[in-house]
Amino acid sequence: MTSPQISVHNLSLNLGNKPVLSGLNFAIARGQFIGLIGPNGAGKSSLLRCLYRYWEQTEGEILYAGKPVSDYPRRAYARQVAVVLQEIPSQFNLALFEVVAMGVTPHKTLFSTVNADDKLRILEAIERVGLSHKAQQQFDSLSGGEKQRAMIARAMVQQPELLIMDEPTSHLDVKYQIQIMELAKAMGVTVIASFHDLNLAAALSDELLVLAQGTLVAQGTPLDIITPDLLSDIFGVCAEVETVPGLHRSAPGVPHIRYHYGYQL
């Protein structure tokens, strides 16, 4: 048994005096696709922010490859962990190519320049997300789905071992929701992604983490986790769960939720 890629021990986070996360414990093995689900305000983004070191936890420890994350210099950590955020502000006429090219940042020292290899890597990443024809267009002029694909391309250029995604599909068309998640999966690295769409999470994830009110309430395979009981206890909805075929014929089925409507009646 190899050691987990990232593990969280008794993690708590307070913002101001308000506890946001309390007593989280979990471990994630290399190569897994982890879906993070939970109702609004459960602490999904806060947990991810601790994992990618935008915030520092109040208590507890996060180990990456067995070492506390605070032991990694920021640049070294960024060579291991890439992040795709929900929204990207930009108003300085940046071209898509330039935004994707930022992925080389953690691999460069002060004096090094972008060489031919880097350039090739950037162009390849743009090609893989299907945006080659827009490489010189302004980032601002792209649609939401294109921006997210560009951010995946940036993560590819970063060559990480772990990809963290904070609701990268929240306001995208169905087509792009699936496309972006499959692009992430195709990178072949460990992925931790938070989801709003439980069916999408269930279909793609090897394992689900369920957060509610800042605590971890369940961790397991989608088939084990997605049950009518959990949906009513945690998400407050009535639903049936059936099993449908998974992505591959060999894989066990994945749960599929059919919500019930008409709560006000």
Partner: protein, 330 residues
Amino acid sequence: MKALLIPGLILACIFSLLCALSVGAVSLSWGEVWQALSNYDSSILTQKIVVELRLPRTLLAFFAGAGLAIAGLILQTVTRNPLADPYLFGISSGASFGVVLLVALFGVQSALALSGAAFAGSAVAMGLLLLIAFHKGTALVENMLLSGVALTFLFSAFTSLLLYWSDPQAISAIIFWSLGSFSRADWQWLWLPALVVLVGCVLMLLMRRSLNALLVGDESAVTLGVNVHRLRLGMLILASMLTAVIVAACGGVGFVGLMIPHIVRFFISQVRTVGMLATALSGGLMMLWVDVLARTLIDNQELPIGVITSAIGSVFFLSLLIAKKRAASI
């Protein structure tokens, strides 16, 4: 074409420098200018004009323009606010306050003392800004901008109060100072702005990747391995130093720091090294010509620099905006 941008700008700067040396109250031929530069003889008056008077002020104009332009670029980048400008952060109002304090309370009017007071005033403003904005280590962009605006008003209030009690002669000296001039340039002190601007330029180029990462948000920059707080603090200090030294040497010169980065951005992306260099050179180039205009527009009189930069700058800037809008709508 973009490969020729930097060499083209450098050539334009050299050409403009020679022009600036030949025009003025006494018109000199290029031959005389060349003679003065290559084979200086201090007993000849025209050569003395070129080397002792025009060369230092022209160089100061170049460095001031370049320095303000890169200070503007840095501040716009670290605050992600296209309206940020070296004067928005209270640095120049701090300098004005220092000068006014010296003139109004002690009646001192020597150029060197005024520069020293301006620098001290900017340093105080900068220190206060850092103290307020970085209190508890939270360097939020909004905090920084708001503190800067508040400090500007605070210093302006004190300045106005002091001016209210000053005699008319002191007031006119202060107003002339605050509008900016390169006439105080001399060889003895030129090294300071030159050094600060060159060092600032090199530091900005070295940190360009981290600076660029900030353009798409703090959080995104953190995930690229940038230490955002340290970078922002360092760059803020750098931009403040640039502004303080330039304001001390030539008074308040508005609009360059805001405008030049925008003009360059119309043509070339700022995330490229070429874009950053072009910003510095364009700032210097523009200021060279502003100085020429200041010296030649009215016979036997020198116009304040700040008036020209703001007047020409705003008209040029507006016409670029309109042209850009028209191009976009076609």
